[in-house]
């Protein structure tokens, strides 16, 4: 890189859809960033979004926020980049985001070059890779077989800086990337321009949640300045500051190991990083080290269909039953087992969770709670929605009236709804915690250009 060159990345928020300070975004644009980058997703809301390829956030809210960032892009005249688009970064989610972007471009009368980087993986090529020995489990990883791969509805590979750089190199105005590591979005351009690699990855990790690494997390907007030795983080909101504590503490966040971060093509080590305040709101960091590893590996995420669920809820206010709730649960289970066998629905599993006793922590709960009322949530799971509902209907009379002993007067508990059972739809499960070796970084990714 040229001497004294600084690469500036403006990060508006931790993710598209999370509120941010509008004045701070405006202040950030005045700093003349080289790129506006924002994350669009995460696995943190669960496997449903990858399983279905649908977005967690509403379309209208996403569109409103994206329109503001398209405005910011037009003002700054630099590329706008989103990664892990549509929550999961699955191909369908990238298409959803592209559709929304084209709609906005039409409404705004903008002619744009849009690059999409897709991370979706073909099941057969993953099975081939598995059989070739190119897929390695991380710890802990569920066991995988070709059948499990075939059962997935979506598999994505997490893009790193190389794939994002390929997208940036197209000269697109807007880049919509599928699943990407949160950090690669921010690290790609500084690394392409020759900035310090350890600093680029470390700064990217610090900024991946927007202003979470500052004194005002909700303000969202941070400016990241990268050079040949380190990086500087500056929050753009008037009342926000980065301090050595807020910045270094961010390495703890959602990170199993606070010193080492594994990424496509290598890992970051921040043990020797030095954090220094350079003014009342900025922190400079140097000393982080990037290590290349070979072969080049990308992480995989996959979700598979795991059944259809129906949920019933009943409320127990009778103190005798509250005090003997475990015996009542056993009686419900026994009754269900008999009815399931008699009615030929033994393939439906039943789980009963006692809300007010241990529904949050399950077997790890050790408090003896004495709530004045308890909720019993009955969860029915099977391969067919109609069968799960049928099982729920079979248990409903028991949820309403089952006595603890045959000789006591028939009790009646409280159903909050009619009907008491609700079809919850499909359940998905994460089934991959694996890495895959590829020859060239673009081997598992697809780059396309669309003109609006």
């Amino acid at each position: 890189m040229r001497k004294n060159e600084i690469v500036k990345i403006l990060v508006p928020a931790g993710a598209l859809g999370i509120p941010y300070d509008r004045a701070a975004l405006h202040a950030g644009l005045l700093e003349k960033p080289d790129l506006i980058a924002i994350d669009g997703g995460s696995t943190d809301s669960g496997p449903f979004y990858l399983g279905t390829g649908t977005s967690k956030y509403s379309r209208s809210a996403t569109k409103a926020d994206w329109a503001e960032l398209m405005d910011a892009r037009a003002t700054a005249n630099v590329p706008l980049l989103i990664g892990s688009a549509g929550t999961s970064g699955a191909d369908a989610a990238v298409d959803w985001m592209l559709d929304l972007t084209l709609e906005l471009a039409r409404e705004r009368g903008e002619h744009l070059k849009i690059a999409t980087l897709k991370s979706g993986q073909n099941q057969n090529s993953i099975i081939d890779a598995l059989e070739r020995g190119s897929i390695t489990p991380l710890d802990p990883a569920p066991a995988i077989t070709p059948q499990i791969i075939e059962d997935t509805t979506n598999i994505v590979a997490l893009a790193g800086v190389e794939q994002i750089q390929a997208a940036l190199n197209t000269g697109a105005d807007i880049i919509i990337a599928g699943r990407t590591t949160d950090t690669a979005l921010i690290a790609a351009l500084p690394i392409a321009r020759g900035c310090h690699k350890g600093a680029a990855w470390h700064g990217a990790k610090i900024a991946e949640c927007g202003a979470l690494a500052t004194t005002n997390p909700n303000s969202g907007v941070v400016l990241m300045c990268f050079d040949d030795k380190g990086f500087v983080i500056t929050p753009m909101a008037e009342d926000a500051a980065a301090t050595p504590y807020t910045v270094s503490a961010h390495m703890l966040y959602e990170n199993a190991n606070p010193y080492i971060l594994y990424e496509p093509g290598g890992y970051l080590d921040v043990k020797a990083a030095q954090y220094q305040s350079i003014d009342e709101k900025s922190v400079r960091v140097e000393g982080s080290i990037w290590h290349d590893t070979s072969p080049y590996q990308v992480k995989l995420e996959g979700a598979r269909f795991a059944g259809f669920q129906t949920i019933s809820v009943v409320l127990v206010r009778d103190q005798h039953y509250c005090q003997h709730i475990d015996a009542w649960i056993d009686a419900l289970k026994n009754s269900f087992a008999k009815k399931a066998q008699k009615n030929g629905i033994s393939d439906v599993s039943l789980e009963l969770r006692i809300i007010g006793q241990n529904a949050t922590l399950g077997a790890l709960e050790h408090r003896k709670n004495h709530a004045g009322e308890l909720g019993v949530m009955a969860i029915f799971t099977s391969q067919d929605q109609a069968r799960s509902q049928e099982a729920a209907k079979l248990l409903n009379p028991d949820l309403l009236h089952l006595p603890l002993t045959p000789h006591e007067p028939m009790p009646t508990f409280a159903f909050p709804f009619s009907p008491p059972e609700m079809n919850k739809g499909a359940l998905y499960e994460f089934c991959l915690n694996h890495i895959m070796a590829i020859d060239k970084p673009m081997d598992a990714f697809t780059l396309q250009i669309t003109e609006s």
């Binding site: 696995t43 669960g46 991380l138 703890l252 966040y253 959602e254 599993s349 399950g362 790890l364 915690n433």
Partner: protein, 99 residues
Amino acid sequence: MALGEKVKKIRSKNAGPFWLTIDIFCFDELNFQHIQKHLDTASVARLFHIEPSQILRFDIAPLQVIKFSLPRPQIQGTVNDTDMHGASFAALLEELELE
């Protein structure tokens, strides 16, 4: 006295779908040293019904933080998972009585 009453904050979060990470933020250096001495990994392992060897522990003096990372009690979002974001597991440590 329970751990939660002795420290500034205890935070539990997913670290991806397969790991849980728990950060214990102490008030100051003295508090950190005290907690560090009295909080043993085995007692945390007992809370989660696992072996101490399954837990990663980081005592981070500059931040006055003790961090534990462990495989999630249930993989996130599976049929038996009770807490999608893993935030409630912090309560187990908050209520832990220190020796």
